[in-house]
């Protein structure tokens, strides 16, 4: 159906009078409805970033394209009595809506972002044949005593000229302005800013910033990310809150150890130690999350006959996760943690952080120095790896790559976007290879230790079946790892190729 629509925000709370001014003699009231409307998105606004929002109005749940911002959109609407709060995509009934959600929100849960009451009055504007040629919707949206009135004009197919005429007549009335952002207005009234959280580092450092200023800004940003994710970890909405929390810790530690000579040494040592301990307390829960997320993949690796062995494995992992989550929440609630974070924030804001000798050096110069040095190290270590080099070397290279990647991300805003994009692209391919290799070896180790436990302690009748399932998995993972290792040489050759080396030299060697 091809229809056009335009929405205007009325400058004052107008009612029926606006509509009457628009088309005094030929108006037909068609519908009137009042609803509680709830807007859902993931914590990191995955729907919003694709221009979508999930809406629940009464029993109806549907995805709306934000740019259309109109009422009502019937397509893909499903009936759902339950509250979608905390829902994952797989909890929706099968169909187009669920498929779209799967592709967009992946493993994140939907959270309630705003709740409003909306009264919508629909009118038809009639021509001399008394045929509806334009539809009008007057919408009053209320959030906690705050109020927006909007008027939406929607064309009827084949009567576009009447629609254009009415739009221009409405603009002449001068009582409203076109609103592309009705959605954002509603969100702002509800007190949230769409897109204000992302797991990516979106830093925009001041080009003239000194090393001290830039470093503190980076660390402050990471501090905020950690704090933003605490609530989600506590409530256990989904696994990605902990993941983002951990990445922020890792980036903080990496910044502390890599950006040398800018922050006072003893403070750096103190906080490095604090964050190392904090990170350690998150390890167990994250490991368990990863296994449970991969449940389907693991199951697919084994033949039907060995499947029952996995049931026991996973039910054990699940109960262990419950305990690990409890421990994690306790850590977050402890005064030690809260004091540490407060003193960390105070340190970043304070004068002490800017007292060191390199603190005044331009950040861009420091960035070039650190990045180029790290890059050379990666090249050197990578070139030393041959087919018979022990696995240890690959693990070390992976850590070096990660450090380099973090540096590139911290200071990305200093350098041209397109070139940084290319650099990060090269980096990513190599990291994917090293990451897969590492994941596979960690999983094998974990399964190995679990196997020992099953064989030595468990008295359960199905322990042999369990052991067979685990054995099967280890074998599969091992052969996968061999393949990944084999691919390393070609992945690294591309990374160490002329194009990439020249990029680094141009950008960072000064």
């Amino acid at each position: 159906m091809i229809t056009h629509s335009k929405t205007y925000v009325l400058s004052e709370p107008h009612g029926w009078d606006v509509v009457e001014q628009l088309a005094p003699e030929r108006l037909l009231p068609v519908s009137e409805a009042e609803n509680t409307v709830r807007y859902f998105d993931t914590f990191d606004w995955r729907l919003y970033r694709k221009g979508l929002v999930l809406i629940q109005a009464g029993n109806a749940v549907y995805l709306q394209r934000i740019s259309d911002g109109e009422y009502p959109l019937v397509k893909d609407q499903i009936e759902m009595k339950q509250d979608p709060e905390g829902h994952f995509w797989w909890m929706f009934p099968e169909g187009e809506l669920r498929d779209t959600l799967r592709d967009v929100i992946s493993i994140r849960a939907l959270l309630l972002r705003a709740q409003v009451t909306q009264k919508v009055c629909g009118f038809g504007v009639l021509n001399t044949d008394e045929k509806t040629v334009v539809r009008l919707f007057l919408t009053h949206t209320n959030i906690e005593n705050r109020h927006v009135a909007t008027l939406t004009l929607r064309s009827v197919r084949g009567y576009e000229r009447d629609f254009e005429k009415l739009c221009s007549r409405f603009i002449k009335l001068d009582i409203a302005h076109p609103a592309e952002d009705v959605f954002e207005r509603v969100m702002n009234l509800a007190g949230c800013v769409p897109g204000n959280y992302s797991s990516k580092l979106n830093l925009d450092l001041n080009h003239g910033a000194s090393g001290g200023e830039a470093t503190c800004e980076i660390l402050q940003y990471l501090h905020d990310v950690m704090r933003q994710n605490e609530a989600g970890i506590r409530a256990d909405w989904d696994t990605e809150f902990l993941h983002d929390f951990r990445v922020a810790i890792r980036r903080t530690r990496s910044a502390l150890s890599q950006i040398k000579g800018v922050l006072p040494k003893d403070a750096v040592e103190h906080f490095k130690d604090e964050f190392r301990q904090l990170n350690r307390s998150t390890n167990r829960l994250r490991d368990l999350d990863v296994y449970l997320l991969e449940e389907d993949t693991y199951r697919a690796m084994l033949p039907q006959s060995l499947q029952p062995g996995l049931d026991a494995v996973f039910s054990r992992l699940k109960s262990e996760r419950r305990r690990a989550l409890n421990d994690m929440v306790q850590v977050l609630d402890k005064p030690e943690y809260l004091d540490m974070m407060d003193s960390w924030a105070a340190f970043l804001q304070g004068e002490q952080a800017r007292a060191e000798k390199d603190s005044g050096v331009p950040a861009i110069a420091l960035a070039r120095k650190f990045i180029y040095k790290r890059f050379k190290q990666v090249l050197k270590r990578g070139q030393a790896i041959a087919d018979d080099t022990p696995d240890e070397a690959l693990h070390n290279l992976r850590i070096d790559c990660k450090k380099l990647r973090y540096l590139l991300e911290f200071f990305a805003s200093f350098f041209p976007k397109d070139k940084m994009g290319k650099l990060i692209g090269y980096m990513k391919k190599l990291q994917d290879n090293l990451g897969d290799f590492n994941d596979l070896s960690v999983q094998q180790q974990e399964l190995m230790s679990y196997l020992n436990e099953v064989l030595s302690r468990s008295r359960r009748a199905d322990r042999l079946l369990c052991a067979a399932a685990i054995g099967g998995l280890i074998a599969r993972l091992h052969s996968q790892q061999q393949v990944v290792r084999h691919e390393f040489a070609s992945a690294f050759a591309i990374y160490a190729g002329k194009k990439n080396v020249r990029l680094y030299r141009d950008l960072f060697k000064k």
Partner: protein, 246 residues
């Protein structure tokens, strides 16, 4: 996507009324539908208060593509569009004869708009010409309103024979009784006899009521101004049955 053609060789059996009311029922549950008026009388457009654009006629219709798309107009009901007819549609046969190498031309003409709609309805003119043959091939179901009289049944039999002779799929042909007056013995008997011969007629019957005639005054589907009329209920029942066809 299904295409229903409301067709009968006889005039005045309630084709247009059925097409308009069924299309209206179809969009009530959120589906989208296009009513394609092939009858030069233009009664369907009249019921929806729609006038075709002045330049629209047989030639543009047969060109298809955007010429056809640009002339589709929205009705007062969300999801229901109409492609109006024009006086020049009386010569659609001639156009089809010179243009179309085979009798699937009309079917192909619809390809670009098929995915826009869940249902397409044809309102056909009352004759058995080349256009009708194109309609039979394009439609998934040919829905035939039948007045329960001897003569009507005879005409209906001729249509069945035509389908057989031209190797058209017999299961496409679906009939229902229209303008039924229960107080007339002839009507009752004809319906009973059809049942005995095990002919395929739908259970829903459209009664003879003035409510349907009032559509010309109200210029709306009967459900809009006589929601509790027997006619409204009958069309609703008919639509339920049509949806279950397979």
């Amino acid at each position: 996507m299904s295409i229903f053609a409301l067709y009968s060789m006889k005039g005045g059996v309630g084709k247009t009324a059925a097409a308009v009311n069924l299309a209206y029922e179809a969009v009530q549950s959120g589906a989208t539908a296009l009513l394609c008026d092939l009858d030069p009388q233009g009664a369907a457009a009249f019921y929806f208060r729609i006038r075709a654009k002045k330049k629209f006629g047989r030639k543009r219709f047969l060109k298809g593509g955007k010429h056809l798309k640009n002339n589709i107009r929205g009705t007062d009901f969300d999801g229901l569009d109409l492609l109006p007819s024009a006086m020049s549609f009386r010569n659609l046969d001639l156009g089809l004869d010179t243009r179309a190498k085979n009798k699937n031309y009309l079917k192909r003409l619809l390809t670009p708009i098929r995915q826009e709609y869940d249902y397409i309805f044809f309102d056909c003119p009352p004759n058995l010409t080349l256009l009708a043959e194109h309609v039979f091939r394009a439609a998934d179901y040919v829905i035939v309103p039948c007045i329960p009289t001897t003569l009507s049944m005879l005409t209906h039999q001729k249509l069945v024979d035509f389908f057989k002779k031209n190797k058209l799929k017999r299961r496409k042909l679906v009939s229902f009784f229209s303008l039924v007056e229960q107080r007339k013995t002839m009507h009752k008997d004809t319906i009973a006899q059809a049942g005995e011969r095990k002919e395929k007629f739908l259970n829903a019957q459209i009664p003879y009521t003035t409510d349907v005639e009032w559509m010309g005054w109200a210029r709306q589907p009967v459900a809009c101004f006589r929601p509790r009329s027997k006619a409204t209920q009958a069309y609703r029942k008919l639509w339920v049955e049509l949806q279950m066809l397979k």
